[in-house]
């Protein structure tokens, strides 16, 4: 089937009769050359592209480039872009297989989790909150990877926190399950669970500030847990005690 430029322009302008227009649409689905021809003929595309390509503006692009390529981010930049810079720069520096926290490091695992969590801001959680159906699937997948059941009723137990999402990360070749919460003020929190090389002897729970965040960590048999977020060690201690009793 062949179409003249005039006919294709009429199609683009919506001036072609319905049957012929439908035929062109149908043909384009299997004929990439026709699709390219139609796109090239589009009289509106070029002016719009030329105008829109000016975005993002210089100011934003400068932030984007700094975030992407480096490093020298000055103190006056917004917190959001500092976070993005941190993500991209950490990546460039550390590399690794699953996540940057998956790369063996000299720092204690709790510090590495806290460092990752410190990248989270209110909007990170707000924009990535899962629906209840998705959340259930995320929990099922995480339980399977971890080899230990995680019950949604237990995870939802902390009253002051809203369960936002669950995802599987990696830490030293072991799965690390991150269960993300947010409090009423938007502050992000997370419960992270991973496996331990050695089973725990006795009950060792420790609370300390790491990378500016309050953390409470404990071990239960072959699983290590850490609750991290905010700057109130008594709060992380209380939530950790509640979760420890339920999980």
């Amino acid at each position: 089937m062949t179409y003249s430029d005039q006919e294709l322009l009429a199609f683009l302008n919506g001036d072609l009769d319905g049957k012929r227009a439908a035929e062109i649409e149908q043909t384009m689905r299997v004929d990439r050359d026709l699709e390219s021809r139609v796109m090239a003929l589009d009289p509106v595309a070029s002016p719009v592209r030329e105008a829109m390509i000016a975005l993002p503006g210089r100011h934003i692009l400068k932030d984007l480039e700094k975030s992407a390529f480096v490093s020298d981010v000055s103190a006056g930049k917004s917190r959001q872009w500092l976070k993005l810079a941190a993500v991209l720069v950490l990546g460039a520096v550390m590399g690794g297989s699953a996540m940057w926290i998956g790369r063996p490091a000299t720092e204690d695992w709790r510090g590495r989790v806290a460092q990752y969590q410190s990248l989270y801001v209110a909007d990170t959680v707000r924009l990535t909150t899962a629906t209840s159906d998705v959340l259930k699937r995320q929990i099922d997948a995480a339980s399977e990877r971890l080899g230990r059941p995680l019950e949604i009723s237990s995870l939802e137990a902390p009253e002051a926190l809203r369960l936002a999402r669950v995802q599987v990360l990696g830490l030293d070749d072991a799965p690390l399950i991150q269960i993300v919460y947010q409090d009423g003020n938007g502050t992000p929190f997370a419960l992270c669970v991973t496996t331990a090389k050695q089973p725990a002897e006795g009950d060792k729970t420790s609370s300390e500030m790491l990378h500016g965040l309050a953390t409470t960590a404990w071990q239960d048999g072959s699983y290590r847990f850490i609750f991290v977020g905010g700057n109130d060690l008594s709060m992380t201690g209380q939530v950790a005690a509640q979760l420890k009793a339920l999980l």
Partner: protein, 172 residues
């Protein structure tokens, strides 16, 4: 793909992700936040990207997915709808463009389109994805892409065939 590779590819794709995010949100601040979340998610989900596909297309799918979650969340909180973007909200446009009223006029008009039309305009007109690629990114039938483009063309028809360069010549 490894997360390292994704992080290497992200910088080049940031302008495209930013423009697509703007087409979804219609708001500069929300766009910046959405780009940040998209980058975080892309790094986290690096293992799911197949190098045979379009990296940018994959990032834009992530961007759209995060935005849909945000819309659902806003709906459940009964937040107010977003205001239409004033083009002067956008910090300094690219060199040579800031004084080009014609370009500003086009951007303003694009930003007044319904968000569903804006996103196909961005993908097909600006980023030059094919209709079928745009359909995959937006998870809609190709016929819907076509009908949204038809509606957009009608709204933008006064700019048809006149580029900035031609407009500048015309003004001289």
């Amino acid at each position: 793909m490894k997360s390292r590779s994704v992080r290497d590819l992200l910088p080049r794709s940031l302008p495209s992700i930013w423009r697509f995010a703007l087409s979804l949100t219609g708001d500069v601040e929300m766009t910046n936040d959405l780009v940040q979340s998209t980058c975080l998610r892309a790094v986290e989900k690096a293992g799911q990207f197949r190098s045979s596909g379009s990296f940018e297309g994959w990032c834009l799918q992530i961007c759209r997915s995060i935005w849909l979650n945000e819309l659902r969340s806003r709906a459940s909180r009964q937040d107010k709808a977003f205001a239409t973007l004033d083009v002067d909200q956008i910090p300094d446009l690219a060199p040579g463009i800031e004084h080009n009223l014609y370009a500003k006029e086009i951007i303003s008009r694009v930003m007044t389109l319904p968000d569903a039309q804006r996103s196909v305009v961005e993908l097909v007109f600006v980023q030059q994805f094919t209709y079928s690629e745009a359909a995959v990114i937006l998870d809609i039938p190709i016929g819907t892409v076509m009908s949204r483009l038809h509606a957009s063309r009608r709204a933008l028809k006064e700019f048809a065939g006149v580029t900035n360069r031609e407009k500048r010549k015309e003004q001289k």
